[in-house]
């Protein structure tokens, strides 16, 4: 591990100021991904600004019904929160399907969003990787890419975003609140992460020194149901091959409104807007769900070793939507 300085921030402004002075510094929260990447030599910050003890550790309800999740709320506390379990089951389920109990206790809301891809080449200093070392090349397209992208990838990078939580937040139209050297701003979750393009080293639209302070969940319509379904190689403690987060508002056997996000398929949580459009106002039947899934996946460009994800996503999406449509009100 490269040597680094360690500073503890007292408040958000102080944390932002500390990092503004350090172009090669990084924020540290739970550290479950960052410390590992530092040990691997993938991340080499020369300063860590510890933000774990900032006063961003509460989940509070705003007057307009928004649930505001502080950035340092742990993944386990968020999954267990009664308001989240009752109103946003998709989020609780996504969190509980990720990592292990020990990791969820350390990992934070903000940190979960900023975790890096688990592409094996990204984590292996002995191989090229455009995300880790821009311009060095991408062995994944011709090499091992079973877990990698089928949608939205570029010649430079076929990595997937590993978060389950972010997929649920994408379907919930969550808004990420940040503070940086230029002040505060609100970024829709669906616009936080980028597609790789020719700058795969940039996972998100955040600028250096911009700190996530909270994530806002807008209220759902009372009739809405939501759920998360994850497919992986073993029953627990594994990243998604594919996953589906969906929010459905049914009305008389039809779909009044629906929001769908896919995990394990792209460089960012993939909002399935083609499928959503096909389903708004349509009968809530398995046939229509399948047609919508296939319409969404018609844009997929699978690699040689991950074409299995196309039928897997379609089946998982149909199963998720059928399950939600059949749920008692």
């Amino acid at each position: 591990m490269k040597p680094f300085r360690y500073q503890r921030a007292r408040d958000v402004r102080g944390a932002v100021d500390m990092l503004a002075q350090a172009p090669h510094g990084a924020f540290l929260a739970g550290g479950t991904n960052l410390v590992d990447l530092m040990r691997l030599g993938v991340a080499t910050p020369d300063l860590l600004v510890d933000v774990r003890r900032l006063a961003c550790d509460r989940i509070e309800e705003l007057p307009d019904g928004t649930l505001r999740i502080g950035a340092t709320v742990s993944n386990s506390e968020l999954a267990a929160d009664r308001r989240v379990r009752r109103r946003y089951p998709v989020l609780s389920q996504a969190l509980l399907s990720g990592a292990s109990g020990q990791l969820r206790n350390l990992a934070t809301t903000g940190g979960n969003l900023l975790q890096r891809t688990r592409c094996v080449y990204f984590q292996d200093l002995t191989t090229p990787c455009n995300k880790r070392e821009p311009g060095s090349g991408c062995p994944a397209r011709e090499g091992y890419h079973r877990e990698l992208a089928i949608l939205g990838w570029s010649q430079a990078c076929v990595a997937t975003h590993p978060s389950d939580m972010a997929v649920a937040l994408a379907a919930l139209d969550a808004v990420v609140r940040t503070r940086g050297p230029d002040g505060e701003r609100a970024v829709p979750l669906t616009e936080l992460h980028r597609l790789p393009g020719d700058e795969p080293e940039r996972d998100t639209v955040l600028r250096h020194g911009e700190l996530i302070t909270a994530v806002d969940l807008p209220p759902l319509p009372p009739a809405a149901r939501s759920g998360y379904r994850k497919v992986r190689d073993r029953a627990s403690y594994a990243f998604a091959l594919v996953s589906v987060a969906a929010v459905v508002e049914p009305a008389d056997g039809a779909v009044r409104d629906v929001r769908i996000a896919l995990g394990g398929v792209a460089h960012k949580p993939w909002r399935a807007s083609t499928a959503e459009q096909a389903l708004r106002g349509a009968p809530a039947t398995a046939e229509r769900f399948r047609a919508a899934a296939e319409a969404e996946l018609s844009a997929a460009r699978p690699l040689a070793g991950n074409a299995f994800k196309i039928p897997l996503v379609c089946n998982t999406l149909v199963a998720t939507l059928v399950g939600l449509a059949d749920e008692p009100p």
């Binding site: 300085r5 410390v35 509980l96």
Partner: protein, 167 residues
Amino acid sequence: MEITLRVDGQERRLVVDTRTSLLDALRERLGITSPKKGCDHGQCGACTVLLGGRRALSCLALAVAYEDAEIVTAAGLAEGGDLHPMQRSFIDHDALQCGYCTPGQIVSAVGMLAEAEAGWPSAVSADPDADEVVLDDAEIAERMSGNLCRCGAYVNIRPAIAEVARR
């Protein structure tokens, strides 16, 4: 950096490089060897300790960041020399072979029971909004999936934990 760690009820002062993991600080600097180094990547659970009562991986925690935490290791669970009920149960059920993962399994199981007590759901909970958690085999397996046992002693680990959970 000079730091103070509170481990198993004792305050310990030490000077560490910022790169030192909590696991290395405990084992190499303080001589507390019950947390084990398995993978050193947060994948095996052998280094599990309690931080403020919650189970966590000490290999991914930097020692300098946990001056505020009450740290409990498997060795610290045995108060006054009496084995913790979870330790006793692991022995009674022969819930180990080589024993390397055992301290992590035991600390994790103690932390897991506290989570269940608090009503936290898991990915396999039939009713995630239920007030009470019933720790059947599926629940225990899911909640303990962050602790690997290469000897495959799971068949005895599960009942060892279930017995303590029933009390």
